[in-house]
Amino acid sequence: MDMMSIGSAILLIAMIVMVAPRVKHAVQNSPKGSSNDWLLAGGLIFAVAVFVYALMKMV
């Protein structure tokens, strides 16, 4: 295992430790969305996925 991998692993572990409490807070305190809200958000993210796929086909 090279230095780059060890450094990346340390950085990722630090990020996980820092992010974990915020995840718990966000899950407990986020307002609930309706099915229409989720459908709209999912549709927008799906459009991004299609756009990225089109870019990948272009290169």
Partner: protein
């Protein structure tokens, strides 16, 4: 009558606060993106080694976690924002040098840049125009981000190319969700949003989309 005037005045001050926050955030974001591009160009010109990426990202995250929250409400926060985004731009140097060395490297970098700009402007523009509240996505996006971090950590040991493609794809989708979430936070909750923190947050979304898109386009071009 008095109540009508009062509620009208509260609504007007809320609109002014929102407009000011949006204007300040996008102005600072534009300046940090230009500064970041300049430090990235310097890093490419100096042919920085791959370890630069790790060191600069590590320093930027330490500043983000320890320094930025303490300075975000003062003038020093602006300097910290430029330091963070400058470091992250400088970190991009080794990655950009690697892709630019490929036969169609400049077109991959250009496409990743254009693609990132289109995704950001499209989603942020949508949230701004419709003024829709995307705050319900907060918990889902945070869980997604934690899952991606754990998967990326596992892939350091597993070294699976398919998992790397999946991680890059999911990062783009999660960061797209964060663009909607952050932009709607500026519109629907301006009193509890600081423009310096918001700029760094939007910058991180753009940075992660650009790096992941670069990886996906690089993989797609090597498959041909």
């Amino acid at each position: 009558m008095n109540e009508d005037v009062l509620s009208q005045s509260v609504a007007q001050s809320s609109t002014l606060a929102t407009n000011k926050l949006i204007r300040n955030t996008y102005s600072l974001l534009s300046m940090t993106l230009i500064f970041s591009a300049m430090t990235a160009a310097a890093s490419v010109y100096l042919s920085m080694p791959p370890m630069t990426y790790l060191i600069c990202i590590g320093l930027a995250f330490v500043m983000m976690w320890l320094v930025l929250p303490r300075t975000a409400n003062s003038g020093a926060g602006l300097g910290v924002t430029f330091a963070i985004t400058g470091l992250m731009g400088f970190a991009l140097g080794p990655i950009l040098s690697m892709y630019l060395a490929l036969p169609n490297g400049s077109s991959i970098v250009g496409l990743a840049l254009g693609g990132t700009g289109t995704i950001f402007l499209g989603l942020s523009g949508y949230a701004l125009m419709t003024r829709k509240d995307f705050s319900f996505m907060g918990g889902f996006l945070m869980v997604g981000m934690l899952t991606v971090l754990v998967a990326a950590l596992a892939n350091i040991f597993l070294q699976m190319p398919a998992l790397q493609i999946a991680i890059s794809s999911v990062v783009i989708m999660i960061m797209s969700g964060f663009i909607l979430f952050d932009t709607s936070r500026m519109i629907n909750n301006p009193q509890q949003t600081n423009y310096i923190m918001m700029t760094v947050s939007l910058y991180l979304n753009i940075f992660n989309i650009f790096v992941s898109l670069l990886q996906l386009l690089g993989i797609a071009s090597s498959d041909d």
